[in-house]
Subunit: 496 residues, 2 copies
Amino acid sequence: MATGAGTDPATRLREYLGPLEDLRGIASLLSFDQETVMPAAGHATRGRQEATLTRLMHEGMTAPVLTDLLDELDAAGADGDDAALAREVRREADKARRVPAELVEALTLAGSAGQEAWVKAREADDFAAFLPFLERNVALAREYAACFDVAEPYDALLDDYEPGMLTADVRDVFAQLRAEMPDLVGAAAERSAPALEGPFPIDAQRRAVDVLLARIGFDEESWLLGIAAHPFSSSPGRGDNRITTRYSEESLESLLSCLHEFGHGLYEAQIDPALDRTPLGHGASMALHESQSRLWEVFVGMSLPFWRGVWPELCECFGGLPGGVDLEPFVAGLNRVAPTLIRVDSDPVSYPLHIVLRFDLEQALVTGDLAVTDLPGAWRDGMRDLLGIEVPTDRLGVLQDVHWSFGAFGYFPTYALGTILAAQIWAVARDEIADVDGQMEAGNLAPLRAWLAEKVHRHGKRMEPGELIRDVTGRGLDAGPYLEFARGRAEGRLGG
Amino acid sequence: MATGAGTDPATRLREYLGPLEDLRGIASLLSFDQETVMPAAGHATRGRQEATLTRLMHEGMTAPVLTDLLDELDAAGADGDDAALAREVRREADKARRVPAELVEALTLAGSAGQEAWVKAREADDFAAFLPFLERNVALAREYAACFDVAEPYDALLDDYEPGMLTADVRDVFAQLRAEMPDLVGAAAERSAPALEGPFPIDAQRRAVDVLLARIGFDEESWLLGIAAHPFSSSPGRGDNRITTRYSEESLESLLSCLHEFGHGLYEAQIDPALDRTPLGHGASMALHESQSRLWEVFVGMSLPFWRGVWPELCECFGGLPGGVDLEPFVAGLNRVAPTLIRVDSDPVSYPLHIVLRFDLEQALVTGDLAVTDLPGAWRDGMRDLLGIEVPTDRLGVLQDVHWSFGAFGYFPTYALGTILAAQIWAVARDEIADVDGQMEAGNLAPLRAWLAEKVHRHGKRMEPGELIRDVTGRGLDAGPYLEFARGRAEGRLGG
């Protein structure tokens, strides 16, 4: 990547990083394409294309010229965004330099092969067919963790998704969940409203998704909605915000799913454009990202005021009462608590226990305390202990999630941390925004979007995640507001 | 791009080129995405991403290590595919090295800006708004041509799309068209059947496109059909073949358009996998590519036997006779000859004259004989002379095509050459494949696909375009079979 002479070091650093960010955006686009429209037979080709992008980005982040630029910038004395940029780039570059290029390539290729194998193994409910790929991924994850100087191997993996957070921090927070949540889930499930009953015509759901997205701020000029087997969001760059959802006649998950993914997309879309084409121009961490999606899904999207505001239009979409019920039982149905086998189908009260299980298991895999071959049994035991559920088949158990298939160990905790953070941030938002409920009911989500932009989004990675959390909430990670929310559900109360 | 030591030069050359081919495939995917689903506001971001890919590919092709590898391979004595690869890479590398990186980047950025300006200018029917962008593109094209040692500047531009062909060759062939075609177009139009009358319901067209594509060999495992304002095909790599079409209630162009794009896609899909991830793994030239699309569109897709074979299913799609007419008048309607203002709406008899006009104009722009500001007038004069049509507005005239907006001068001739080559190749196919008409009527296109694979597709760029044409047809480029086809239409005969 070229570096112009005669300009100041900060400018040259940005010029160097710009093309690397272009490649990052392209990689994001490739994923979107793969999950939404790519023909199945293109898998091997795509794997090679992704490996090449990954290698180029890794080469760019480990090149000596980058270290020189950072040193020059430090010597010149950087402040403001430049200082933040130098800090973040040095952090990423230091991490990248510790990992040999061959290992990076091996991780990418094993991830691609593992994902392909997982799709087939899950379909065939055949853990044994997936076993060698998972063993390979675990071995590579250990090799990766060994590149870093950390207190425990899992710290190295977690840090990729949640910079600066330690396994011990997660353990502390999750201990609170482990202690209190199983009883709360039981109580909430007992008091829960009945599920909404379908079938819900797909055409009506599509119309409803359009109505909801228009309401919350999705515009076709800069947003794209796709369909994917597993909904996700993708931000290839400024002006190009993408989310996906999926439709089933059996449930209305398309509605909450699109609110969730919108929350992710909005975070990236509202980052200060001054940070474009730099590593600062992204969400601060995976947990903070998930806090934004959960805020829109759970605290907006399961609230009575929001649905009251959109109810007449929603009924129009369905040509009558959706699911045949009125507003209040409809919202109560969306808020139903009932432990499930499948994480992504679970309600926000039982959800974190799915994560606690995965956190336990992946730590044990990485330390070697648990052999991969014993994983399905450990999964069953964990589901019984934490959620009181018997797992009938691996397809509905250990094979349900894609993450381990492509080697993403350390990612899962951020889901539960995101829900916890969402509760913290929502509590502050309710204090600071005038009449949030009234605004939602009036269909005006602009004040919430503006508040989130000001407090969270615009900063990108300017602050480290822990610092941003303290800046927004006035304290560190705190399970309190989330547990308060869960206790409310256990007592039969709705509301955030 | 890494080059492993200790392996033979041919292997190392392939290892070097593989990642560059990955980038080429990625660039192809980016275009597909941009033309099918990308949100409009993502344009600037995408332009930068494309510029970065272009620069990386250019750097890869101009790196001294590549020259060293080629020299090593020559010294070791390459034969077969290795020799062909060395020849093609040296050709591309020699061309790339002549163009400064800054000019490459300027061309990409000006192309992106020009395309955006063109979209708005065409919509507003405002050539003046487009003028500065087009002037910039013409200036850059001249600068580009000046990088090469050629008899006339246009040779350098043409060579990018039709390697080895000279402007003088095109001039000779087009002189034949200019001499004979205006009269043939007039005669054919006079004898032509009436146009098919819509409206043709979009849903019925979608079903019909599915039927046609399934019939000719499109399978969802490795092909993707998208919708685009201007249909095109895209081949990001092995197993990932993409085509687009568009639907309008007014016409059945969706049907012929998807046959056309399938022809392009099939060419790439049937290239020998041994050439994957090398510059040999692509169609030999734009004219040869266009010959494959035109063969499926015109010589299969406008033939009575083909439609006879698919007629019952087609009528099912439309819930009755499509356009309310029987098979014979339906096919006669598809074959209607009538000069049009718009190139892409034109029939295969008047089509080449649209190209002759563009060929004249872009040569004059590049030499400077024609000022860009005088282009609209020259366009009107040309349409009057060649096709007897008065151009009412620039939107329906000089602003209709995208090519010049992104700086693609020298591309247009390949369209007409493709039609000419399609007629040559089809004549040989009819000789060599047993009972082509009977096979088409029986819905069996496999023999044609296999013949094309064997004669044309599998070779990729192993042979130079001129050599491949001689290999397939037994002679060079020859307007004879095409003129024979056009004379048939002028005499009121259908059939290839």
